[in-house]
């Protein structure tokens, strides 16, 4: 037997009432609960829908849907976290080592050629671009924000500020005269933090893109539940 739209709405309402508001989490619980309710009603045709739902809910134990929902939520977060770090560390692969070293060296040398003020202007322009791109990715219709996959996939963008803080600290608080192996420490840390920033930004954007794509495809399928 198949549950009708009204019965599915009742289950959906019950899940939402328990505090699980993210649509992708709700839907995975909904299908699991609905399948269990259908099985119970098929096994015992005298069992009412409400009784089958309560029985199913009870079978989840004293924590109700919490363990189940937390399991789904954690694994969605873990999925995007793994994806993010995979993108981030892929830049350290043997194919890109030379590129990475040249980039660090390039930024280091660039600081010798231009004055601190000009370098700061370049940095600010770069940051404005990064901020603009991040906003473009994060600002989406409200429906996206109801999906755990969107929230998890775009959660890395706001953390860009931490690396920015490191760059700023290096530029303002490390004395210019410090050297290590004849290299200027301040310039070196600024170069490294800029590269770190770019790699982090690249990984965050790629993760966000995938999460947006997945959320978009889910929205298309879940539309029938909003109608």
């Amino acid at each position: 037997m198949n549950l009708n739209q009204e019965q599915l709405h009742q289950i959906k309402h019950l899940i939402a009432k328990r505090g699980f508001t993210e649509v992708d989490i709700q839907m995975e619980i909904l299908d699991h609960v609905a399948s269990s309710v259908e099985d119970k009603m098929e096994e015992n045709p005298l069992l009412s829908f409400d009784a089958a739902v309560s029985e199913t809910h009870r079978s989840f134990g004293i924590m109700g849907f919490s363990d189940f929902a937390n399991g789904i939520a954690n694994s969605i977060h873990a999925k995007y976290r793994r994806l993010f770090w995979r993108f981030f560390f892929s830049a350290f692969g043997y194919k890109y080592v030379l590129q990475l070293c040249f980039s660090i060296f390039g930024i280091y040398k660039m600081q010798d050629l231009i004055t601190a003020n000009v370098f700061y202007i370049f940095l600010v322009i770069g940051l404005l671009c990064v901020f603009g791109i991040s906003v473009f990715f994060v600002i989406k219709p409200t429906i996206y924000k109801k999906f755990a996959s969107f929230k998890s996939g775009t959660s890395f963008l706001p953390l860009l500020g931490c690396i920015l803080f490191l760059t700023n600290f290096a530029m303002n608080d490390i004395p210019v005269e410090y050297t290590i192996f004849s290299l200027n420490v301040q310039q070196l840390i600024v170069s490294l933090s800029i590269i770190l920033f770019v790699l982090y930004f690249n990984a965050a954007i790629r993760t966000a893109k995938i999460s947006i794509m997945e959320t978009k495809s889910l929205i298309e399928k879940y539309r029938l539940l909003y109608n």
Binding site: L30, D31, S36, S217
Partner: protein, 122 residues
Amino acid sequence: MYIIFLYICFMAINNELFKGTLQTIILNLLSENERMYGYEITQKVKFVTQGELLLKDGALYPALHKLEADGLLDTDTEVVGNRVRKYYSLSKSGEKEVVNKLQEAKDFIAHLQVLLNLKPSF
């Protein structure tokens, strides 16, 4: 009361052993069934073990999502009976991994039999 206590202990030990092989079980089930959804997996495990082992929902979904994140599973969502259902299937690397995982499990069982002096019943 004592029997119930023993049964609970037995189930707890079984489930602990079960947890360690959960990924192998999921991969193997998917290699035999092409694609399955979450509830179907729990019911299949219950049916195959005649209710002796119950796959908890709180353990199943994290395992499924981990396998998905590791690239061993592909997923697709489908509208089935007025709701959206997420199906899990083996990816190309999942198909390769299932062979390794099964071999690992078989080796482990063989070692366990030696360690515990058990004689295979087959």
